[in-house]
């Protein structure tokens, strides 16, 4: 099975070479048969990559320690779920997942792209194939997951204990679906540049792909954030770490792309900018892959001592980013700029959105790369951490968030800010009230906290206003209003949901940071502690045995208002003997949208135990908002105009069949 997988991987590489060349030549020679090769090759390449991935997963599931990657990252005693997720919990396997998703998206274009112009489809598949070829070569040359060990070891070295969590099953696949999904937008852009023209079908195709990738990336980032929150044991949810930034940059650029693609689709303006943004978004995905996979983040020196992988990815990076930007510089002037609009219009608002989002992306990029560049150039070492981003990224977001509710209420081409402001009066009043309540009635509220709460409520109320205005609340009879509401395009709901989700996330962040409380103390069994109105009693420390670890479980009882136990919270310290590592399993109790978070520390000499306890108000909204944003993207994807392809095809078939059935 392992050799089958290895062979399939080599075949997939060979097919990607075919996919990258034959359709391209076909489009140059205007040869339909050569162009048509792209589709079947892309689908077969995906099938082979899937086979290869399945082979690796089965080696992990069966604990085949003759495979080096399995030996290094698995153990026979691990629960089955972690054996399987361990497949991508390491460098080699995660790169295989990367190309699996890349070929998956290529196959999707091949399968659903029959209504695309033939040359565009051929070129898109060729570009997608070239990305695949580069990464297949990378895997085979530097990161082959199928390398065998002889003699085979008896036992594996275990998966890193921190990764032995359900988060590993969800987070990387979602993240990669987003990250790599932007490759389609990239391929479409490069294909358009190769052809030297952008037509209507181009815009109609790029937007849904951007939406799909953005939806998964949003989910991946939110899931990763929640995972870090509960797994790391100190309740932080975002760290401005370079690795996080690596996934956040494509998200920011992708969000900008999503908005500029709307302008392009609806008004055929901003064509050239949208195309550039699509290239940049996937370039940031590639950059993220380089940062994470090359080891350059750990230290510039670690990178220099074993540069094979890093240099390889750097070459891929240079080739694709440099190549596509050079092509852009050559061809962009040929593309015609379209659609005129007044600065104060929906287009104008979206341009402003793009200005802030692009600047924010660049800020994160510079903050991430500056220490690396400085060390490489001068040898000086500096750190760029959360305080830097709070001071730069934060102020960039404030004006952007403040104008979000205006966007959907402005008309295309020429808008009326005064009319939009009038419609937003109610939302503004609600936000102002929330701000005053937060500032005056909550203990310890700072100006920042009050402003933040006000802004979050402004976003939520603004999103609801958009729906209310469009269904005619206040101007038509209730029956008409409900009919209008039900008849609104799904993309309108999508926009409202996404903006509402953004508001919820902001509310969660501000509430947790501003009103969260914390206690650090030593406790003995039987003692109680009180935090923000919640009383906890420490029951005691109990040893327990897991499948591949031993643990000390600290049991805590939540005491209700009547003095009786109202629930239990358990936090544990786990010891994994194979890796000689200890992890902390935090204890979390969700009360409405807030959480009581408890983390067990070391045992003191006198028998007491160090306990850290947090009250995190509205913290679940941070990730709940992410889910709402995802729902918004899904809703927008179901919009009628993105589904028009399907019924028209059916109609065509029906009309083709009809004459034959006539007597």
């Amino acid at each position: 099975m392992v050799e089958t997988g290895h062979f399939a991987l080599v075949l997939a590489f060979a097919l990607s070479l075919v996919q990258m060349t034959v359709p391209l030549f076909g489009s140059r020679l205007n040869n339909q048969r050569l162009m048509a090769v792209g589709g079947p090759v892309a689908v077969t390449g995906f099938a082979l990559t899937a086979l290869s991935f399945a082979a690796l997963a089965s080696a992990y599931a069966n604990s085949d320690f003759s495979v080096a990657s399995v030996w290094e990252n698995s153990h026979s005693l691990q629960p089955m779920i972690y054996k399987i997720t361990g497949t991508w919990g390491n460098h080699e396997g995660s790169m295989l997942l990367w190309v699996l998703i890349l070929t998956f998206f290529g196959a999707l274009v091949a399968a659903f792209g029959s209504n695309l112009p033939a040359t565009l489809r051929a070129n898109v598949l060729a570009v997608q194939g070239s990305i695949g070829a580069a990464f297949f070569l990378f895997i085979l040359a530097t990161s082959n997951p199928f390398i065998r060990l002889n003699p085979a070891p008896i036992e594996g070295r275990d998966l890193n204990p921190v990764l032995q969590d359900l988060g590993l099953a969800i987070h990387p696949p979602l993240l990669y679906l987003g990250y790599v999904g932007f490759s389609i937008c990239f391929s479409f852009s490069v294909a358009a540049l190769i052809e030297g023209r952008i037509d209507a079908s181009w815009a109609r195709w790029v937007r849904p792909w951007t939406l799909v990738a953005w939806m998964f990336l949003t989910g991946g980032i939110a899931m990763g954030s929640y995972w870090a929150y509960y797994e790391l044991g100190w309740g932080g949810f975002w760290f401005w770490d370079p690795v996080e930034n690596a996934s956040f940059m494509p998200w920011l650029a992708g969000t900008a792309l999503l908005h500029s693609a709307i302008v392009m689709e609806k008004r055929s303006a901003l064509k050239i900018w949208t195309l550039l943004l699509a290239i940049l978004t996937f370039s940031l995905s590639l950059l993220g892959t380089f940062l994470v996979r090359s080891g350059v983040l750990t230290s510039v020196h670690a990178f220099a001592t074993d540069p094979t992988r890093g240099v390889f990815i750097l070459c891929i990076l240079t080739l694709f980013i440099g190549g596509s930007l050079a092509l852009f510089a050559l061809r962009a002037s040929r593309l015609t700029a379209g659609g005129l609009f007044h600065p104060i219009s929906r287009e104008g608002a979206l341009v402003l959105n793009n200005l802030f989002l692009t600047t924010a992306t660049a800020t994160v990029l510079v903050g991430t790369l500056y220490p690396l560049a400085l060390e490489a150039l001068t040898g000086d070492k500096i750190s760029v951490g959360a305080p830097f981003f709070d001071l730069t990224f934060g102020p960039l977001m404030l004006p952007l968030l403040a104008i979000v509710p205006f966007g959907p209420l402005l008309a295309w081409k020429r808008g009326d800010v005064f009319a939009a402001s009038q419609r937003l009066m109610a939302a503004f009043a609600v936000a102002l009230a929330a701000m005053l309540v937060a500032g005056l009635f909550i203990d310890g509220a700072s100006v920042f906290a009050a402003l933040g709460i006000g802004l979050a409520v402004w976003l939520v109320a603004g999103a609801l206003t958009d729906l209310a205005v469009k269904s005619g609340v206040g101007s038509v009879a209730p029956a008409v209003m409900f009919r209008r509401f039900a008849g609104l395009p799904r993309s309108v709901f999508g926009t409202a949901l996404a903006h509402l989700g953004l508001g919820l996330t902001l509310l969660g962040i501000v509430a947790t940071l501003s009103f969260g409380t914390e206690k650090i103390l030593s406790m003995r069994a039987g003692e109680t502690v009180e935090l923000s109105g919640h009383t906890l009693r420490f029951v005691g420390l109990y040893p327990a045995q897991g499948p591949n670890y031993s643990e000390d479980r600290g049991r805590f009882e939540l005491i209700g208002a009547d003095g009786n136990a109202a629930g239990e919270i358990t936090s544990a310290k786990r010891f994994f003997p194979v890796r000689q590592m200890t992890t902390t399993e935090s204890g979390i109790r969700t009360l409405w949208f807030s959480q009581l978070y408890l983390s067990l520390g070391d045992e003191n000499k006198d028998g007491s135990v160090v306990v850290r306890l947090w009250w995190k108000p509205l913290v679940t909204l941070i990730w709940g908002g992410g889910l709402v944003m995802m729902a918004g993207a899904a809703m927008s994807l179901m919009d009628r105009r993105l589904r028009v392809g399907a019924p028209s095809r059916r109609r065509k078939q029906a009309s083709a069949v009809a004459p034959a059935t006539l007597p």
Partner: protein, 153 residues
């Protein structure tokens, strides 16, 4: 091909950074004076744990972070101002410990990028909006000719 620390995806980052007990500030380190302790916590959030990846000493459980936390508290008890404490720590460990790089010429590009980009982008948008509006008002010679023909002039 060994399992090295260079495996740092978001996933593996977790493993890399936070292996071990994630228990930062301990009760025995804390100062009795709540005002001083609050200042110590605030300062700690801006200081990097030198052996960790972008983690502050307030969050880290590394021994070195603990030493640094205790050092900060000692200086505060000795009566230093916040600025004096930071200067002292930087004089001992270098600028690397600061999570917020200083505003100086070396870091000009770092701090300047957001402002510069916003400014340049804003000007660019303003200029293109203006050229667009002037372009839209004037008809080209061909358009004028076509219009004249249509109107029968």
């Amino acid at each position: 091909m060994s399992a090295r620390l260079s495996l740092t995806s978001i996933v593996l980052l977790l493993a890399l950074l936070f292996a071990g007990t994630a228990m930062a500030v301990k009760p025995d380190e804390m100062l009795a004076d709540p005002g001083l302790e609050a200042r110590a916590r605030a300062l700690s959030e801006g200081l990097r744990c030198m052996v960790c990846q972008n983690q502050s000493i307030d969050e880290s459980d590394a021994d070195l972070a603990r030493d640094l936390r205790i050092l900060v508290r000692q200086r505060l008890v000795a009566g230093d101002t916040d600025q004096q404490v930071m200067d002292y720590v930087v004089s001992r460990y270098g600028e690397f410990v600061l999570l917020k790089p200083r505003f100086d010429l070396r870091n000009a590009l770092l701090w300047g990028t957001p402002v510069m980009l916003l400014f340049i982008g804003g000007i660019f948008i303003a200029l293109s909006a203006r050229s667009r509006s002037t372009a839209s008002t004037a008809l080209s010679a061909e358009e004028q000719a076509a219009l004249d023909k249509m109107l029968g002039n």
